[in-house]
């Protein structure tokens, strides 16, 4: 059965090996260059690697592509060609047939996903401080354990669709749909996988004068710390919420209506700040920041991975039952 699995899927294995090699090469290159440029400072790193070669997009897509092109045809191909009547009347039970195929194919692809996940973590390490932390959404999906969980999930959806629908193209479509429906909303649930933290930052109102085009939330203190800021509540010093829609300028104007902005030649906003500075010298606002600290990153990944491993087990079970429960052929 092992030889049979290899022989039936060796063309796909070759394609997969080429893709894997290309991605590994790309990541090694980027990682090495990033490390050699680490001394240049965060600004430089951000500028140079702003358009990272699209390997991040490719890596996010890999599990879905694997599910659609390697798992979705797995059983349906046999039904479409009628070869299930050949495969399941040899001396190997359909149960052993499907479990061996799943074990081998999923095992190899999960290992490849693990390699890619660890390598992506290594590659992005020096870039993390320049890009505001690991939580950056497309980066999150490709680091650590999550790629393995995504891979197994996509494969399990594919094989279940294949076994239940018995037609390859519809199975591929269903795989795409289910994967998207399951993965896209996870982004909104992710913040709840670990206990959130809060901190309060006190911001003198006079500081707002220095960045009138900005927002009070800018002082929440994310950025280089790598924390994932979920929500910032801006209040005045006695706890009343402030309307920050129109930026720092409108906040300052609440305390000092005399502030009259003018448009300067360079397009920026200028004010005569001396009048206000005296008024607002002692005033402060508070940013109450709800966030996931950078240290929770791997825990959150573990929770998310566990969820998708669990779903993968369910889908694989469905696939095995569909194949072994003899139904009209």
């Amino acid at each position: 059965m092992i030889w049979t699995t290899w022989r039936q899927h060796r063309a796909e294995a070759a394609v997969g090996a080429v893709i894997l090699a290309a991605l590994v090469a790309a990541m090694l290159t980027v990682g090495t260059i990033a490390r050699s440029r680490a001394h240049a400072g965060l600004e430089a790193l951000h500028r140079d690697f702003h358009t990272i070669p699209p390997f991040t997009a490719a890596l996010v897509a890999i599990p879905l592509l694997a599910g659609m092109f390697w798992a979705a045809p797995l059983v349906s191909r046999e039904y479409e060609a009628g070869t299930h009547r050949l495969a399941w009347t040899q001396s190997v039970s359909p149960l052993r047939w499907i479990t061996t195929k799943i074990a081998l194919i999923f095992g190899v692809l999960a290992f490849a996903a693990l390699v890619l996940g660890l390598l992506a973590t290594w590659t992005l390490d020096p870039l993390v401080p320049a890009f505001g932390g690991r939580y950056n959404s497309s980066w999150y999906d490709i680091q650590g354990m999550v790629p393995v969980a995504c891979m197994l999930f996509a494969l399990s959806v594919g094989v279940a669709a294949s076994a239940l629908i018995r037609r390859t193209i519809p199975a591929m479509a269903v795989t795409l749909l289910v994967y998207a429906v399951a993965r896209i909303p996870v982004h909104w649930f992710r913040p709840h996988f670990a206990p959130v933290s809060t901190r309060t930052v006190t911001v003198p109102v006079s500081t707002l004068l220095l960045k009138l085009e900005g927002n009070p939330e800018d002082f929440a203190g994310a950025g280089a710390s790598g924390d994932w800021v979920l929500h910032v509540r801006v209040t005045d010093s006695s706890g009343h919420p402030l309307d920050t829609h129109n930026g720092n300028l409108s906040v300052v104007q609440q305390y000092c209506p005399a502030l009259s902005p003018t448009r300067a030649a360079d397009g920026g906003v200028h004010v005569d700040a001396d009048a206000c500075r005296a008024t607002i010298k002692a005033l402060t606002i508070r940013d109450t920041v709800t966030y996931q600290p950078a240290s929770h990153f791997w825990f959150i990944q573990a929770v998310e991975s566990a969820i998708f491993f669990g779903l993968a087990v369910l889908f694989v079970t469905a696939a095995v039952l569909a194949v072994t429960r003899r139904r009209p052929t």
Partner: protein, 289 residues
């Protein structure tokens, strides 16, 4: 060849299969002796494929029981190793070479006689390095048959193996099949919607129509029990009670009947003639129930 047939290699008792509300096969009761070669005949959609799928374990039985090679059909390796199956259109992995398919057979079957398979393919002049998708219909049938025979099964089931073969390929296939049956004593059950080759090839016959068995038994006995009887209407009306009339044609002064009679009809006023096998089968297929 064993002539002392004591055990039935294929036994069914009221077996049937239902797809939802539709019974593809019902109340099928058969007993086929070990070493026999049986033809299952009937029109398309009659239930022949359903019967074979039940016997090989690809379908579960909705009612009744089945026994093949002494065991109930299942997907267990023990059962699968005893039963060979050639499905309709001889499915093969098109991207595999013939040699790959032999390797596949070896990998999937513990009792594998690779030499037998290779000898068969050599005799059939099938090139081992050709991809299965590039073989002719006759060659594919020979490969599918070789794969099934190399398992050394006790019972071999074939679903319309001759349907898409030209006469030469058909003859070659049957030679291989019967030669193997002669050498090993294996039981063969073959479905067909063609009646032509049956008399030379099979010793048992099963006729299925609309999901039910209409006729089953040893071919020699069936042929001897069916006669075309003609005579004056008053004579033909007075046949012994154990005579079963299958079809009647009335002419001006005489009547012709196709009957099944366990004993020879000795009435000298009746003319009897033997029935062609094809005519006989058609009578069972046309008879309204």
């Amino acid at each position: 060849m064993s002539t002392a047939v004591t055990t039935a290699a294929v036994e069914t008792a009221g077996a049937g299969h239902r797809y939802g509300d539709f019974w593809a096969l019902r109340e099928c009761t058969l007993a086929l002796p070990a070493g026999s070669v049986t033809a299952v005949v009937g029109p398309n959609g009659a239930g022949k494929t359903t019967l074979l799928n039940l016997l090989v374990g690809l379908l579960p039985s909705s009612e009744g029981s089945l026994k093949v090679a002494g065991e109930q059909p299942s997907t267990e390796p023990d059962f699968l190793a005893r039963v060979g199956f050639v499905a309709q259109d001889c499915p093969l992995y098109k991207e595999f070479s013939v040699a790959d398919l032999l390797r596949f057979g070896q990998a999937m079957n513990p009792n594998w006689d690779g030499e037998l398979a290779r000898d068969r393919l050599l005799a059939a002049e099938v090139p081992l390095d050709r991809r299965a998708g590039r073989l002719s219909g006759g060659q594919r049938a020979q490969v599918a048959l070789a794969l099934a025979l190399a398992k050394r099964p006790q019972v071999l089931l074939l679903d319309e193996p001759l349907a898409s073969l030209d006469p030469l390929a058909r003859r070659d296939f049957l030679k291989t099949l019967l030669g193997s049956a002669a050498a090993t004593g294996m039981t063969v059950v073959m479905s067909s919607h063609l009646v032509g080759d049956l008399a030379r090839v099979c010793d048992h016959l099963v006729v299925i129509r609309d999901g039910r068995v209409r006729l089953a038994g040893e071919l020699d006995q069936i042929l001897s029990e069916h006669v075309l009887v003609s005579g004056a209407p008053d004579q033909t009306a007075r046949l012994p009670g154990d005579v079963q009339v299958l079809s009647e044609t009335h002419h001006e002064r005489h009547t012709t009947l196709l009957v099944r009679t366990p004993r020879p009809l000795l009435n000298p006023a009746l003319t009897t003639a033997p029935v062609d096998l094809e005519e006989l089968v058609l009578a069972y297929l046309e008879r309204p129930r």
